[in-house]
Symmetry: C2
Subunit: 470 residues, 2 copies
């Protein structure tokens, strides 16, 4: 966070003016400069104030992307890729102005190789669109960050979500990308084999680079077979530590749980009120198992034994789709249920991730911190990964509340780093987490700067994100 | 392969002489220059001729590594990290001379965090050493490339092996590394959280970089719970395609098979003779399941159904450790059993990896190629990944045979690339695969060069590997 770090970059006014002229001539109606559209393309789901691009190109092909990059590279004008605008740390802001590339029209599914469990898509394809398309093949793309984000955006922020505990994050599920580099050429980072040790892992370099090293033009993804049966349920625990112990034991036993989410007591209250659940207000695990009928039964039984050993309450599981859907809809709607805890307020969603052995400590200390400072901030966590979110419900028009929220986020990050954790498990650095990245990785950030300077010498790709170059 | 590409680099004679003097003064007996030791440190398990370093430092700490790198960086002298010397593509050769850093004395296990399922080790720790150390914790490190390689070497070549189909490769199992960079400073690429989206994925950049971007000083690894039960068996198929179809179906159904290895008829004959098995000489799958007693039973039954559907023979599985051990020892000994097919000959182990839908085609065409050219080359494959090895059994003192082998490897790589595969699934590029990397990734190799130049401007780290800079 740290609003003070939301620097306005230097604007290359002359270059921007010339780029605007050229792009207008080239793209006509597909180049937009109206305030509303520019505002929408600097939209963010947090409190970070928008910094508008100067214009938006609605790209329809890799060739369009090449043209924009070539134009902007020649004139040293920033290029900011835009998927659906669901990023949370200011990733689509334009602190030095420049051109936003909107990918909503680059939303073709280019190929699906069912036997190889992979597909190649344009960056603007959203995960829901992809899964609807895949349904008849018996395959699905498992990464689910909550929002119906674009695949390009998810790759760029190294997104994950509720079922990363079983299926991994975007790091694990991108086989290769094509990208337009600073030279205006399109490169492909890898072939379609499921593994390779052929040279530097450029795929993983682009995944999580937040558009600062080049602009993605396609993404090849690993897919999974749709499980024959999905079962799940909820289980309450007397304390956070008991719930965390159940998670640790589940992972250690190798029970291939597909989702294991911790929801704290305050968030349960919010879910009960907003989503019509009637759960006891206590630390609760939402779990889900994927497999054959026999396999989910076995997993559920093994998990029940874990729950019993860790002092949890009754664990009722079901493979009834309607009951499951209600539960997970409530989990997905935590943003809105949190918001409903204080009328007229907004939610600041923040995330940290710690080694699982410190998860209970980190969540418990964070709860205490929230209470001690009179904040409203329910907690949900991807417990199997040690990753959790606080949804701070604040009146963001009140500078005092905003300052209090920022101070809280600073303490939260300090706490996570002290536990050998990371300042972001899945939201990325963007602008909001820049100071924490430096504290997390120190000298390694200099290496990142060296890579950035080598691949983007004029700093045209999404400048002012992840780190400052000066 | 392509011996013509094993260039001798330019030697910086003056720098090397001064570095030798300084290192002798600094390290005394821990700096060795005898021919036998230098030869051993350029040893490779393939036909690639050794190119000796000028001296070998036996490092005992990260500080030692820093001292060597600082000395060599100041004098622009190559630094080549050395684990156990089990790499297969000339990774430890010193084409421009320079200093080999031997890690056999940096073999401490620095920490094991059982609850977090991770550990941190020095690069010289071998995988067998680590697994013996871990035994009492109930955990194990799953990556098994066959050789008792060092963890540093395995990270650097992005190794994998028989159980990557379930547990992934080194890419998936390294949480972070510390490395000494060209500035002589030690950086840490990530914290210990199981996932992170904090900045560029430097961990994955070092994994597979073959020591060309810096020298690893420690590796933090993900661990797995030792399965309560391990079961497995073998199953023959009339054709390669039937066996491959069984693999594809197994993966698509999400049966969490831990190993699924294809062994071709010739290799079965070699195993029967060398390892005292009595299998029918036909394409055969070796499979293994990890889990609870109920879970492995379920997996075995699900797999049996797949086998039946794909026309396979009887699938007998067992969780008896002795029967399993004999089987997998035979699988691990394929190098030796292949070698025994022609007395007085050596084995060239090569590897490619293709999308799984092309696996049967690629293996079948490769068998035909071997037969058409009168070569002896049994095949084993990590079928679940589409990765396979040919063990060419040749008289490598005969230039004509060597040339025939090289021509075969060229055709094998051309075939894999034409199927959208990679020239190496797990051995790395080293020197032997340099020309194929260029054909595989084209312009992306230029990006690798840009990264290399940025992080190692004087090209001191393992020069002449992965790509040529000029």
């Amino acid at each position: 966070m740290a609003l003070q770090d939301l620097r306005a970059g230097t604007r290359n006014e002359e270059g921007i003016a010339r780029a605007m002229e050229k792009l207008k001539a080239q793209f006509g109606e597909r180049f937009q400069t109206g305030e509303a559209i520019r505002h929408q393309h600097a939209h963010t789901l947090t409190y970070i104030p928008p910094q508008l691009p100067d214009g938006v190109v609605f790209a329809e092909s890799a060739d369009d992307v090449k043209e924009v990059v070539r134009c902007c590279a020649a004139l040293k004008v920033p290029v900011i890729p835009f998927g659906t605008g669901s990023s949370l740390e200011g990733q689509v802001n334009a602190p030095s102005g420049g051109i936003s590339i909107d990918f909503s029209k680059m939303n073709r599914i280019l190929s699906v190789n069912a036997e190889d469990l992979d597909c190649t898509v344009e960056p603007g394809v959203t995960r829901e669109q992809l899964n609807v398309h895949l349904r008849d093949t018996g395959l699905f793309f498992p990464i689910d960050p909550g929002a119906n984000a674009s695949i390009g955006g998810m790759a760029s922020t190294r997104a994950s979500g509720t079922n990363a505990v079983r299926y991994g994050t975007m790091k694990d599920n991108v086989l290769s990308v094509t990208a337009v580099t600073a030279s205006g050429e399109e490169i492909r980072t890898a072939r379609r084999a499921r593994k390779s040790s052929a040279g530097y892992d450029l795929t993983r370099l682009f995944v999580g680079a937040e558009g600062t090293l080049g602009v993605l033009t396609s993404v090849t993804l690993r897919l999974q077979g749709i499980p024959a049966v999905i079962a799940g349920g909820v289980c309450g625990f007397p304390t956070l530590r008991d719930a965390s112990n159940a998670v640790i034991m589940t992972i250690q036993l190798g029970i291939p749980v597909a989702r294991i989410e911790l929801v704290n007591a305050l968030q349960i209250r919010a879910c009960n009120a907003y989503s019509g659940l009637s759960l006891i207000e206590q630390p609760t695990l939402f779990v889900e198992f994927h497999g054959s009928e026999d396999s989910v039964k076995l997993q559920s039984e093994e998990f029940s034994a874990v729950v019993a050993e860790c002092g949890g309450g009754a664990f009722d599981w079901t493979s009834d789709p309607q009951a499951r859907a209600k539960l997970w809809k409530a989990r997905h709607d935590v943003y809105f249920s949190a918001k409903s805890l204080r009328s007229g307020c907004n939610v600041i969603a923040t995330d940290v991730c710690v080694p699982i052995s410190r998860f209970a400590d980190c969540v418990a200390e964070t709860e205490d911190d929230i209470n001690a400072h009179g904040l409203t901030g329910p907690i949900v966590g991807h417990a199997g990964d040690g990753n959790f979110h606080v949804s701070l419900v604040i009146d963001d028009t009140d500078p005092a509340e905003l300052a209090k929220a920022e101070a809280f986020v600073a303490r939260l990050n300090t706490r996570a780093l002290a536990m050998d954790g990371t300042c972001t498990g899945e939201h990325g650095i963007g602008q909001g987490k820049i100071p924490y990245l430096e504290r997390e990785l120190g000298g390694a950030v200099d290496l990142m700067r060296q890579v950035k300077r080598a691949l983007d010498p004029d700093n045209i790709f999404n400048p002012g994100k992840i780190f400052h170059l000066d």
